[in-house]
Symmetry: C2
Subunit: 250 residues, 2 copies
């Protein structure tokens, strides 16, 4: 947990500029009580989200559960979407180990299976569902979720890099696109069509992604001026330097 907001204020490094920049409460004295409040509130949101579902959650209930005055929540997080955003930032810290079996197919399949497992875990998924719902119609949450996925995708994309090194897939392959192709099937079913997720779905998604990559369908092609890969700088002996636009902003 922890992972305090720590908004890296631009420019002015020395003194706190007097009143001009709006310092969010919780940034100046992040110590003891402040931190304690944050964890309590975030935990309360989690529980409330899981127990009663997103539609029923309200700032007041969260505050009550956290044992905190509701004004505190309002001043620090503004509103419910603000809380969800912070919750998501908290989620970003969790790391998942990547498989490395020497085969793209197998690597992807394992990742798919793990994703399936994750999506079947009720408490976590309920919460994530709420986050997605918020992001659909709230710009700030949308931004946060977007960043979350950028980072998560980039991490997983490493196994594509290895496949490229092995010569399993064409060198110009877009590392992110492979992962997107796979995970898209999951989220599509989960959140859009509402169809069930099975092992078959997972395996199929992995197979499709791997096969498409191998067939050279997932190249980082700069069609119409828009590069869809954000990785760039592969670092290994990649022959063709298909640079990306570097969209990976934190």
């Amino acid at each position: 947990m922890s992972q305090a907001p720590e908004e890296p204020s631009e420019g002015t490094a020395d003194g706190p500029s007097p009143g001009s920049t709006d310092d969010r409460p919780g940034t100046r004295r992040p110590g003891g009580r402040t931190a304690r409040t944050r964890t309590a509130v975030l935990a309360a949101v989690r529980e409330e989200l899981v127990e009663t579902g997103f539609a029923q959650v309200t700032v007041e209930k969260v505050a009550r559960r956290a044992g905190v005055a509701k004004t505190t929540v309002y001043t620090r997080w503004r509103d419910l979407p603000g809380l969800v955003v912070d919750l998501l930032a908290d989620l970003s810290t969790t790391r998942v180990p990547l498989p490395d079996t020497g085969s793209l197919d197998e690597d992807l399949r394992l990742v798919a299976r793990r994703l399936l497992e994750l999506m079947r875990a009720e408490p976590e998924m309920t919460m994530f569902r709420a986050i997605v719902a918020t992001a659909v119609h709230h710009p700030e949450a949308r931004e946060a979720l977007s960043a979350f996925f950028q980072q998560r995708l980039a991490t997983t994309a490493e196994l594509v890099d290895r496949a490229i090194e092995r010569g399993e897939v064409p060198p110009g392959t877009c590392r992110l696109e492979v992962v997107r192709t796979m995970s898209g099937a999951f989220y599509y079913r989960m959140f859009i069509t509402g169809e069930p997720l099975t092992e078959a779905v997972a395996d199929r998604a992995a197979a499709v992604a791997a096969h498409s990559a191998r067939a050279g369908l997932l190249l980082a092609a700069p069609i119409d001026g828009k590069v869809s890969d954000g990785a760039g700088s592969d670092g290994a002996g990649g022959s063709s330097g298909v640079g990306g636009d570097g969209a990976g902003s934190a």
Copy 2:
């Protein structure tokens, strides 16, 4: 599908059983005023959704805009999600013509391009976005959206049937899965990661789906007792018996 008009009532043909079965208001006298109210309210929801965004929409505003007493809306639609559900049912009636170029690749590409176009149309998309957001945390809306996609997918899947007949793809190919594979990429970017949609994305999605189908990766395999396709046996025409699992559990 709840308050869709013309629910074929079962059994009791002669007298209206007094109060036992819950007839939704609007079913017994669907004529003049009732119909007028419905269209007015639905239009109001549409406009409200597009103008102010989902988070701001409230039953009261909708009623006011429609020039209707808010109690009317409450008694007929129950709440906001109910309205959204009805709105979605209304959307289901729109038909889109399918391409038939003689090539699966090209057919899919055209469908993808049209989908792209559709998703770029701001007013409609804003509304659809709201529907998805509702579905994420509201079971009834989830059900409706699921049904909507079932029908929509089944319709589009006809071009896969033609590809099977032509021998372009293996005969056991799951008609729905091909379409899902393609459209998944769209919705994933649109609603989950929030990444931009481009022509490149559309073409790539179509290529991946077509290629995977041809490679036999999208067979309707009854793995672990769960068949992922619902149709398959009948030729064209049928298309309604997709039913099957739907969103059921989750």
